[in-house]
Symmetry: C2
Subunit: 157 residues, 2 copies
Amino acid sequence: MKTNEIISKEELLKHWQGHRSLTRRVIEAFPEKDLFEFKVGPMRPFSLMAQELISIAGPGLKGIVNRVEEPYSEKIDLKTKQEILDEWDKVTRDIDVYFNMIKEEDFHDTFNLFGEYKSPVYENLLYFIDNEIHHRGQGYVYLRALGIQPPPFWERY
Amino acid sequence: MKTNEIISKEELLKHWQGHRSLTRRVIEAFPEKDLFEFKVGPMRPFSLMAQELISIAGPGLKGIVNRVEEPYSEKIDLKTKQEILDEWDKVTRDIDVYFNMIKEEDFHDTFNLFGEYKSPVYENLLYFIDNEIHHRGQGYVYLRALGIQPPPFWERY
C-alpha cells in the first residue's frame, strides 16, 4: 500500500536504534584506558561524548513525553566501559518505551527541550540522532588515530 | 492544523540543506593546504571526504529521481577549496530541484542506489545525510587538531 507519509514513526525509531547499535560497537571498540583518556587537541575523550549522548537521549526523550523542561545536566560519572555500556543499554530500552508514547500528531508541537532549545518535536528528535552521528564520527577518528579499525558505518543491526 | 505525518518532505529537505550549509562552513574553515593534506592516521584529507559527499548527494539523488542505477564513482578531482565550494553549491541547487521531484508516495519504493544499496528511498536519503554528518564530525576533529575552532554544530542556516 502506498502512503503519503515519507517516514513513519516506527521507521524513525528503527533508524535511531540502528544508529545506537553502531555507537555501542564504537564504545566497545575502545580499549578501556583510551576510552577515558585518549583525545585530540582540546577535545573530550570518547567516554565523555558517550555520557553526553546518554544524558541527552534518555532525559531529553522523557522530557518530550512528559512535557517537562528540566535543564540539561550530565549528572552521571561513569568510570568503566562496562558502566557506560550498561547505561547505554538502559537508555536503549527507555527509548523503545518512551518514543512510542509520542503520538504522530504531536511531532510538530513546539517543545522547549531542556528549557532551552525551542523546536518542533521532530527537530528535537533529529537533533538527538544527528548529535550522536557527529560525535561517533569523532570517535572513528580517535579509533583510527589509535590504530584500531572502527566498525563499518553502514552496519546498523 | 495537526497532521499525522511526523516529518514532511519539505521539512526533510530543509533539514538536509541546513546540514549542507554547516558542512560548507566546515570546508571553508580549513586552510587551503590543510584541506588537501592534513589527515589523521590512515584516513583521507577532508577535501576527499567533501568530494565523496558531492559524488553521493548529486548523482545519488538524480539516480533516485530518474531510477538510474549507475555505479558510484568519484570522477571529480577538485584541486582548490574554491572549486570544492563551487561544486558544493551546484549540488545544493540540484538538490532543491531534484528532491522536489520525488513524490511523497514514492519514499517507500525500493531503490538499488548506485546499483548496489537496495533500500527504501527514504533510507537512501537518510544515508546521504547521516554520511555527511559522520564525515563532517571527522572534519571537526581535523580542525581541532589544527587549532581551529569549528563552526557551532547547531547552526544550520
